[in-house]
Amino acid sequence: MSGARNITAALRRARVPRPSLAIRTVQSITPLTARTFSASSIRTSDSRQIKFTSDAYPNLKRNPNFADISADDVAHFKELLGSQSAVIDGVTTDATDDIEPFNSDWMRKYRGHTRLVLKPKDAQEVSKVLKYCNERKLAVVPQGGNTGLVGGSVPVFDEIVINTSRMNQIRSFDAASGVLVADAGVILETADQYLAEREHLFPLDLGAKGSCHIGGNVSTNAGGLRLLRYGSLHGSVLGLEAVLPDGTIVDALSTLRKNNTGYDLKQLFIGSEGTIGLVTAVSIQCPPRPKAVNVAYFGLESFEQVQQAYLAAKGQLSEILSAFELMDGRSQKLVIESTGNKHPLEGEYPFYCLVETSGSNAEHDMAKLESFLESVMGDGIVADGVLAQDETQFQALWRWREGITESLSHLGGTYKYDVSIPLSDLYLLVEDCKARLTEKGLVGDDDSFPVRAVVGYGHMGDSNLHLNVAVRQYSKEVEKAIEPWVYEWIQKRQGSISAEHGLGVAKREFIGYSQNETMVKLMKQLKNLYDPNGIMNPYKYI
């Protein structure tokens, strides 16, 4: 997942105004809380205009095998879950306003018709709920913080939303091994703050950290900003607890790093977007929190030089390199347009990079970073750059990368493509896409053109590009011009059409561009084995 790891925007908005400065010794701002972004802040706008997913995707038909939710079902769930706040009942009462946030996503792109939201408090309750749903053939959609980017966490028709927000306890942390065991509904930032107090770090960081749940992160195999350093969740998740549609509780909550006994079934739940089972708890390996973190921000003249800078960073910063992010000139212009902040560099460049180092010794790290900076400047790879001198500048520089998603959302709609392609061709996709849309006369500076800009940014270190087409309004014409062209482009280069965002509703029908028939067949077999009635998150994934 990309994007806006926002903050209480006002605090971090670059440098001016800094009203809290004068009273800093009285009311300190901890960097932790100051670096969060809640996707929910965007959610406040009027949801009435969001189009129903079922209208946007007329090919999707409600599966007639699924039962309709009856008043008896609701009564049963109410009895099962006991507490009043665990059931939002839109079946027997009018709860439209209460249910709406669960029906639609923060990008305002997907909207379902659910009339029932359940919030079980532990795996036992989830088990009872799913067992009942499976017997009754009631479809469900597991939902965490609802910060997904492909419509995977909202219903399409009347699927029951099973929200994990009440499963929010941290179960244990072992300082010696660094293993954290926590419920699925713990908010990523809460987990990270808990770990910060114990000098450890959650090995995942992403824009929506203030809202997203770690269960959802695992279910979608979220990537984020520091995958380069800490690796994929397939590696750092040591175990998990999940519930299968028939109510079976899969207790694989191992805290062992090594365990070669049989199939590694937990991997099935990582990235399967709740189509096989619902993750209720996670055990995860957490690294020690770095004591020294530095950030540099570069301007570069060509993508060729961006690649050279990346190679140099890998070579010279190796073990302390924790992020290498790419932003193109247009993406930064949009951030300026949306925030009004002053850009850190004097001149304009077609490419910008953000390099972060994390290490244990500030002096050693600084020495390495400075020799790296001297070499890339000296060799003419980097045209200009700045180095954060304090925490405020550190956060402000990150904001130029993380603020892109949010800035785009302020300026209108965005078609988002999260792709993985070989590094040398990474930016070519943006150029080709821009050329194509320009040729079709869709891109322009005034309101008569549907497309505002074609921008590219992403995790250079992971060969992961976010191609974003910022539009003034969503239109079929633009969509047809991009899809399936963009997928074919990626297929030609053996890339992935979804590097970290997942499939959900958005990419479901395009899986064939990145997976062959055999793979898709095997996946379907697995799905049918564990979920023969197909009640888990239907109409999505595969």
Binding site: A14, R15, V16, P17, R18, P19, L21, A22, R24, T25, S28, I29, T30, P31, A34, S83, Q84, S85, K291, A296, Y297, F298, K342, P344, L345, E346, A362, E370, L373, E374, M377, V382, D384, G385, V386, L387, A388, Q389, D390, E391, T392, Q393, F394, Q395
Partner: protein, 260 residues
């Protein structure tokens, strides 16, 4: 007037975005292993000095001297100051005893000596350092030198080559504009400017700029203390709220607290 010779005293303090913690002995704030940066108000005064040069006003800026008093890490902030545009720097070596450092009067006397020695005609200081929050040094220095002073400046304007300076600062419900003649002391406030980032080429150039080490004794100043810190404590922690399960829970809680 021939040229502006600006002195910008800067202080290395705990980074403003870091939450300070009281040490175990309750004698001060824990500084070991905590990120330190240039005092934000001093960043503003460096920026303003550099802007005075860039503005090419009626009086040319001849020299920008950054100065910091403190322990062995002080050169870090002096390099930052020079990367932002200061020409040279003095590090006044004062051993860090973990007692908050010299008092404002000592610092003011030290600055007075430097002003005389270096023939400075404008001193730009932050209005306060965010660690001690004393906000006295600029005023004391002006007193010792017998110079005019303008505090909390939000705008500095050199009017003519005779050294007339107009300074605007914020007062309750509006702004106040003052006029004075150089030499003078100006302290800076938040709205004065937006400090620049230290660019990579300038960071490298800064490494080659002269940084001179001196002691208080060299300047004929003694580190005397008039105040003794007895105890430092944190404000009482805020009591957290409680969560209730449902409306009934809320009602009974309110009843329990006597609100209903």
């Amino acid at each position: 007037m021939s040229g502006l010779r600006i002195l910008v005293p800067v202080k290395r303090v705990i980074d403003y975005a870091i939450k300070p913690r009281i040490n175990k002995a309750q004698t001060g704030v824990e500084t070991a292993g905590v990120k330190h940066s240039l005092n934000p108000f001093d960043e503003l005064s460096i920026e303003e000095a550099v802007r005075l040069r860039e503005r090419k006003g009626p009086i040319k800026v001849e020299d920008i001297l950054a100065l910091s008093a403190g322990g062995p890490k002080c050169p870090d902030v002096l390099r930052t100051a020079m990367a932002m545009g200061a020409d040279r720097a003095f590090h006044i070596d004062v051993p860090d005893k973990g007692d908050g450092g010299p008092e404002p009067l000592t610092i003011a006397k030290m600055l007075q000596a430097v002003v005389k020695e270096q023939n400075v005609n404008l001193v730009l200081l932050g209005k306060q350092a965010i660690d001690g929050d004393q906000g006295q040094t600029g005023q004391m220095l002006a007193g010792l030198l017998g110079w005019p002073q303008a505090t909390q400046a939000s705008k500095v304007d050199i009017k003519d080559d005779a050294g007339t300076v107009e300074i605007t600062h914020e007062v309750d419900g509006g702004v106040e504009t003052l006029r004075a003649k150089l030499p003078m002391v100006i302290t800076t406030d938040l709205r004065l400017n937006e400090p620049r980032y230290a660019s990579l080429p300038n960071i490298m150039k800064a490494k080659k700029k002269p940084l001179e080490k001196k002691t208080l004794a060299d300047l004929g100043v003694e580190d005397t203390r008039r105040l003794k810190t007895l105890k430092v404590t944190e404000p009482p922690p805020r009591k957290g709220g409680g969560k209730v399960e449902d409306v009934d829970g809320l009602v009974s809680k309110l009843k329990e607290l006597g609100a209903l």
